[in-house]
């Protein structure tokens, strides 16, 4: 299986940078700036400083050289923040373009009714929800929809990367088709379910581009915190001249503006939306489409993870474990028949049957010349081989029984009853029975057993360390479920699960205040997907499931929930870490600016100039430059997210507090000192 992922962008792609540069100027539009209160404040202060500077320059003030520079850096602070957002959006757009390529530019064959043989050719973009289109082998599917009639194999590699075509048929759990995929065989009629621009691909494109991004709940709360901090510093700086007047100090307003902007949390304020967009972006790289930022954030909060057993906890493909022959059949014969019928079967199950037969009976592969292999089809649900002397079929019990009945032309006899017993026995032990028949006579059953995925136990341990409980959901009986649950190391299981039971379980956990994530694909999963706080629909699933969930996994890999949770957590952590960093920075800025402002009145305050900055002017300038440049310096971190390894909350906090708290205290001391040395060397102040 090859996984198709959008081509990875280097962190600073040239084209993205150039576009971001342009966009960061466009974003100076007050209507855009006002969405970000901290940056809007910064821009207002920059305007004020510019006006005052111009007045000072025209009147030939002594400080005008420094004032010009301060005003310029105030503007740079805003532009750098815009730049960060623009880069994130630019990268999102690049991702979106890669998503868009999968959208069909082709035409559609619209029909008026399901049975209609006549169609009219329209542009795919003109299709409306409810339109019926017909697609035949070779056609591109023009939009998201449900198969109304027919069955076909569809190549979905364009969006999933899975090269093997998949079956799409009406009525079942595999009825959903995605625009941009291609019909390989047969003919289907599709009812289009999304208006142009409303397909989930369109929604995701809008999200990663940042255009329709709504603030997530935590982002809103954090913004309030930042606004609060801004107000506190506004009070501090606005009242400072009054207090300073006691010592006869008059502080130039531009210096006050510099102090104010360095104190307010511009670093996190400037990077906040970039972090959010980058989080969505990271999700797309995992081939997961989220319908809202809120869902991604909720993923980080998940307490309980409901995972389907098959394909998630156990290998979707089962392994042959024994041959169960009917009473009047030799086990060797059964094994040989199974062996021969599976020689051409490239599925893991088929291979495991061949391997088991070889080990048990040392069977040798015969000449293939006179063998005609019958592949598995959606209609027959059987596969097998036609030999010169025999015809062997294997498949699900009902289809083999039907096959037997058809061949012998009789109603099932005693042998069939025994067969059913065997089949049931296997099913009860948690395995899958595969019936083998030769020349229309059943031989016995191959027991296909669930194999717990290697490494899954460790993943669950990781989740447990993160505080997430895993619950395995299976249709198996409780005994089997318990056995597999113990083997896989899940915390709990739901056996004999029905969609209703699943929904009830989710509600139960939510009553207790927990957040629940699950993934599903069938139509009957839709209520549970909608109820869950994070519902990940498999792309191979029904349109109903895809609509109900708040994320769609294009690769249909249920274990990806774990990655989604991590991305959600990383998003919050990046915000928290940069907030801490931003606030911790203020200490150094005070030590740079306060002695500078009051040195004339109180030479003693020189003792607070612990960095030994060259002059009061250079100190203020160094602080404001550091404040602006740090935004740019942290863009890579905002885009990549802070490093995250699953661990207990306390460990994570300790680590982040040391890096971003302590680091936030120390880094600006060094940075401001270096900038001050440069300013002094260049003679800027």
């Amino acid at each position: 299986m090859t996984i198709h992922r959008p081509a990875a962008l280097s962190l600073f792609d040239g084209a993205v940078l150039a576009q971001a540069g342009k966009d960061s100027m466009i974003k100076l539009d007050p209507r855009q700036l006002v969405r970000n209160p901290v940056m809007f404040t910064t821009a207002l202060v920059a305007v004020l400083a510019t006006v005052l500077t111009l007045r000072d320059v025209t009147s030939g003030g002594a400080q005008s050289g420094v004032m010009v520079q301060i005003s310029a850096w105030l503007w740079f602070t805003v532009i750098f923040a815009n730049f960060a957002e623009a880069i994130a959006e630019g990268r999102g757009k690049a991702q979106a373009a890669s998503l868009r390529r999968t959208k069909s530019e082709a035409v559609a064959k619209r029909v008026s009714a399901v049975g209609s043989t006549r169609h009219e050719v329209v542009a795919a973009a003109d299709l409306r929800s409810g339109d019926l289109v017909v697609c035949e082998a070779g056609d591109s599917i023009p939009g998201d929809g449900d198969v109304v009639t027919g069955i076909a194999t569809v190549d979905e590699s364009a969006i999933t990367g899975e090269s093997a075509p998949v079956i799409r048929e009406s009525g079942g759990d595999r009825s959903a088709v995605t625009g941009g995929t291609r019909v390989v065989s047969d003919r289907i009629v599709i009812r289009i379910t999304a208006n142009p621009g409303e397909a989930f691909l369109d929604r995701m494109i809008a999200l990663v581009e940042g255009a329709r991004r709504q603030k997530t709940p935590n982002e809103i709360a954090l913004t309030i915190l930042l606004v609060g901090m801004t107000l506190i510093f506004l009070i501090v700086v606005a009242t400072l001249p009054a207090w300073a007047s006691w010592s006869g100090t008059a502080i130039p307003v531009v210096f006050l503006a510099a102090l104010f902007i360095t104190l307010i949390p511009t670093t996190i304020g400037g990077l906040l939306s970039a972090i959010g967009i980058a989080g969505m972006d990271r999700l797309v790289k995992f081939n997961v489409i989220a319908k809202s930022g809120r869902a991604v954030e909720a993923a980080g909060d998940i307490d309980v993870l409901l995972l389907d057993k098959t394909g998630t906890i156990t290998l979707g493909a089962r392994q042959a474990s024994e041959f169960l022959a009917l009473a009047d059949v030799n086990e060797h014969d059964l094994a040989e028949a199974a062996f021969l019928s599976s020689l051409a079967d490239e599925t893991p199950e088929g291979k495991s049957i061949v391997a088991l037969a070889r080990i048990r009976f040392q069977l040798k592969e015969p000449e293939r010349a006179d063998m005609i292999f019958i592949p598995f089809t959606a209609q027959t649900r059987m596969s097998g081989v036609d030999l010169s002397h025999a015809q062997i079929r294997k498949g699900a019990s009902d289809s083999i029984i039907a096959h037997v009945a058809e061949r012998s032309g009789t109603t099932p006899g005693r042998g069939i009853k025994d067969l059913v017993q065997l089949v049931e026995r296997v099913a009860k032990s948690g395995g899958t029975p595969l019936v083998v028949a030769r020349d229309g006579r059943p031989l016995g059953v191959i027991h296909l057993k669930d194999i717990v995925k290697p490494g899954i136990r460790e993943r669950f341990a990781t989740l447990r360390a993160m505080g997430i409980r895993t619950v395995m959901v299976t249709g198996d009986n409780p005994l089997t479920a318990a056995a597999i649950a113990a083997e896989a190391g899940v915390d709990d299981y739901l056996a004999e699960a029905t969609p209703e039971k699943k929904l009830e379980l989710i509600r139960e956990h939510q009553q207790g205040g927990q957040l629940v994530a699950m993934c599903g694909d069938g139509s009957n999963d839709a209520p549970a997907l909608a109820q869950a706080d994070v519902g990940v629909a498999m792309n191979t699933g029904t349109q109903a499931a895809r609509e109900a969930g708040n994320m769609v996994d294009l690769e249909s890999d249920p274990t990806k929930l774990i990655e989604i949770v991590m991305i959600g957590k990383q998003l919050l952590m990046s915000r928290g870490a940069l907030t801490t960093f931003s606030i911790a920075n203020d200490v150094a800025k005070y030590f740079a600016i306060i002695p500078a402002l009051f040195l004339a009145s109180y030479p003693q305050l020189g003792a607070l100039n612990v960095m030994g900055l060259a002059s009061p002017q250079s100190a203020i300038l160094a602080a404001i430059i550091f404040n602006a440049v740090i935004i740019v310096a942290l863009i890579p971190l905002a885009l990549k997210g802070v490093g995250y390894r699953p661990a207990a909350a306390e460990v994570l906090l300790k680590r982040n507090l040391v890096i971003y708290g302590l680091g936030g205290l120390i880094v600006p001391f060094i940075g401001i000192k270096l900038i001050d040395m440069m300013i002094a060397a260049l003679g800027l102040a």
Partner: protein
């Protein structure tokens, strides 16, 4: 610093630690209704007032009752002061108190500030002292504790609409907690020498033959509630430095323990009521660390002596029986809490020793803090700390299983904004108005310190002062009163709103993914957030006041 000094600090800390679980457990019984000793008295009171004790209030109702009661209390106290000349129990024949001073005093006592722009023995009649001021000592303390209890209920309850009944909480606090301790404590104080009589003045002919008029009154009963309720309004102008209020080292220790006991105990009550006493101990540990740093800094600074006077022991404004150690300990305790009683004149403390009380107040008085107000004050910081920490562990932040969301962050920030507005805004006004400047006594940076201290004290409802400032003017009486109102109700109302919104939330069971709020890491984080928020807000002014003064003094510069 000497061994006796350190030992006194340790004895004080040990006494508080020993009392914490006892008082904490008792208060938990009082507020969940298990203590029933005075039930008959309660029934009579509720019937007379028309209060249904079983009917709980939502946060709006709780806040409304609190505000109405305070409004009435302020009006009553104002009236009593204005009319004291016509009222009984006025042995010294005091005349009516001027309107601005009466206004300031009424606000001051009802907000638990007890800033005194008057000299107790020279202004107020015995009736005002007892029925006016002393009642407010009980009321304002009980109100603060009630708000804290309401907030605790908010955290403890799940999916609830109500947070208790304000009148019931107020009544039970007074009857079960404050009065019994006060009666016993006051008698101990009298035994140790604190007067308790209804005489006006005693007249003495001194050994050298001059006449000495010695003010008298019901001092002991007021001392006990003034400290226990972190009120701090002295019976005498010199407050707890007056030998009658605080005659010896033992009484001094009783005062100190009384100041801190309820505030420390409430952390334990909090832990018990939310079902995890470790939560309470964690908060008390954070408070304890801040206290320890403060007391060592102040004591260390003061013990070095005044460099401008050749390093002479700084006994200016101190009493011999307390010396340096017990005086600085008292200064730190009284400002860490919102008490504001003083046993030494803070204005005369060395700059860095005077900086500690200022910082204590400016941090929002959360180092144990005022009764009730200390706990709800620090819980506001806890919310902010948990919010930032929660983000850093990658989850929607939660405290005690309650998610901290936009609404709570908004309310917490409102509460945090109240004090800077009062201190920096109104204090700044004092620095640029002639009326404000006229009150400043000291020249140089110490002048700024006096104003900063006054507004820090008022806006944090402390009540202690750099006494050099002449606060009894229309400007200061008004501005300080406004600061007190902002600092009291600007925090109480958001806090009650937080209580309401917390009570309504579901409780999420904790897991390895939730960050534990009872460990050392949380304590360190909380201390960090308190220091950073407070420090960043006031760094410039602290630099311009005590820090410059210290640097100048070290260089021998006088003003």
């Amino acid at each position: 610093m000497d061994a006796y000094g350190i030992l006194q600090i340790l004895i004080f800390a040990a006494a508080v630690l020993a009392l914490t679980p006892v008082l904490g457990g008792f208060m938990a019984r009082v507020y969940d209704g298990r203590a029933r000793l005075f039930a008959p008295i309660e029934r009579v009171l509720y019937r007379l007032c028309g209060i249904d004790p079983a009917r709980e209030q939502n946060w709006v109702g709780y806040a409304l009752s609190l505000l109405v009661l305070h409004l009435l209390a302020v009006l009553t106290l104002y009236g009593l002061q204005r009319l004291q000349g016509f009222l009984p129990l006025n042995p010294a024949g005091q005349g009516g108190v001027p309107p601005d001073l009466a206004f300031n005093t009424a606000i001051s006592f009802s907000t638990n500030t007890n800033w005194q722009n008057y000299g107790g023995e020279s202004t107020m009649s015995t009736l005002v002292q007892m029925a006016g001021l002393a009642v407010h000592n009980f009321l304002s303390a009980a109100a603060g504790i009630s708000v804290a209890v309401a907030l605790i209920r908010g955290f403890a309850r799940r999916s609830a609409r109500t947070i208790g009944n304000f009148y019931v909480d107020l009544t039970r606090t007074t009857l079960y907690l404050l009065l019994p301790i006060c009666v016993v404590g006051a008698l101990v104080l009298v035994w140790q020498g604190v007067p308790q009589n209804l005489n006006a003045h005693a007249e003495a002919a001194t050994l050298e033959g001059s006449r000495q008029v010695i003010a008298q009154g019901p001092v002991a009963s007021q001392m006990m509630i003034k400290h226990l309720g972190t009120n701090g309004g002295g019976f005498f102008n010199a407050n707890a430095a007056h030998p009658y209020e605080n005659p010896n080292g033992l009484v001094n220790l009783i005062h100190l323990v009384a100041i801190v006991a309820i505030g420390a105990g409430l952390t334990n009550t909090f832990g018990r009521m939310v079902g995890d006493t470790r939560q309470g101990w964690a908060i008390l540990t954070a408070m304890g660390l801040l206290f320890l740093v403060g007391v060592l800094a102040a004591y260390g600074a003061e013990a070095r002596g005044n460099p401008a006077l050749g390093g002479m022991v700084n006994l200016e404004g101190k009493e011999v029986r307390f010396g340096i150690a017990a005086s600085t300990l008292f200064a730190v305790v009284t400002t860490a809490t919102s008490c504001g009683a003083v046993n030494a004149m803070h204005d005369s403390l060395l700059p860095l020793a005077g900086l500690v009380p200022m910082v204590n107040m400016l941090l929002g008085e959360v180092v144990v803090g005022g009764v009730g107000s200390g706990l709800y004050g620090i819980l506001v910081f806890v919310l902010i700390a948990v919010f930032i920490a929660g983000l850093m562990v990658g989850r929607t932040p939660e405290y005690l299983g309650k998610k901290i969301e936009a609404r709570e962050v908004k309310l917490a920030m409102l509460a945090i904004l109240a004090t800077p507005l009062g201190v920096l805004g109104l204090g700044g006004l004092a620095m640029i108005t002639p009326a404000g400047l006229a009150g400043i006594a000291a020249a140089g940076p110490h002048g700024l310190s006096e104003v900063l201290y006054a507004f820090a004290s008022a806006a944090n409802n402390n009540g202690s002062a750099f006494g050099g400032l002449s606060g009894n003017s229309v400007f200061y009486n008004t501005a300080l009163a406004v600061a007190m109102v902002i600092g009291r109700f600007g925090i109480i109302i958001p806090v009650l709103a937080i209580a309401g919104s917390m009570a309504a939330k579901k409780t999420v069971p904790s897991s390895a993914g939730t960050f534990p709020t009872h460990g050392g890491l949380f304590v360190a984080l909380l201390v960090g957030v308190i220091l950073v928020v407070g420090g960043l807000t006031y760094f410039p002014l602290l630099a311009l006041g005590p820090v410059v003064e210290h640097l100048a003094l070290a260089a021998g510069t006088l003003f």
